[in-house]
Symmetry: C2
Subunit: 119 residues, 2 copies
């Protein structure tokens, strides 16, 4: 397993205020960024919420009606969510059903908890 890290430019000279900081795991960062940037968009977030709300899989046609963008935009958004590991897709006849992954469920739950409790 590659254990690459992003270099810490400040390593070496400890100035008045500057203490060297722990490095960031580059692989983890890449994965997390995929996830976060995929979720962090109006259209995709809403699609994800709707997919997560439904108990069973949701087909694309449902989603198209729900969010205010073209069929093509929905398809692209879903592809991106899929690439980020946030949804699974299953083909059934000519429809395609999307379901949330554990990652999606866990993150949305965390977000809900945070909003509920504080601030």
């Amino acid at each position: 397993m590659v254990q690459d890290t992003v270099a810490d430019g400040a390593t070496g000279d400890a100035d008045a205020c500057c203490t060297p900081l722990g490095d960031v795991d580059a692989d983890a960062m890449a994965i997390d960024l995929q996830v976060l940037s995929a979720m962090g968009n109006d259209t995709r977030y809403e699609l994800l919420r709707r997919i997560a709300n439904a108990d069973d899989g949701v087909c694309v046609c449902d989603l198209e009606a729900a969010v205010g963008v073209s069929q093509s935009a929905v398809s692209q958004a879903l592809s991106r969510l899929y690439a980020a590991g946030l949804v699974t897709r299953r083909k059934e006849g000519s429809w395609r059903y999307y379901e949330p992954t554990e990652t999606t469920v866990a993150l949305l739950e965390t977000l809900d908890d945070l909003r509920g409790t504080h601030e």
Copy 2:
């Protein structure tokens, strides 16, 4: 408390495959999107990780050395993280120390857990 929701375009006619989907809370969405889009960026994610890694607050000068962008860019990134409620800032002399909020800690932990366990 306002309980606004994003309208579900498909409400009413139930087609062959289309079932109406639960609506998405607009307030929750706005907050979550602030958080997710703030975190979902290379520079800001790395800053956040470094801030979260440090036990005590981190001052901007540390961070500037660590990530490969200008002082101005770091300042802007930190402002955005602050606006999203992901860090607190405290002034001490001419330095400014940033610390992670509970939101940051919880989300990064969730992401770590997810990466560790599956896939």
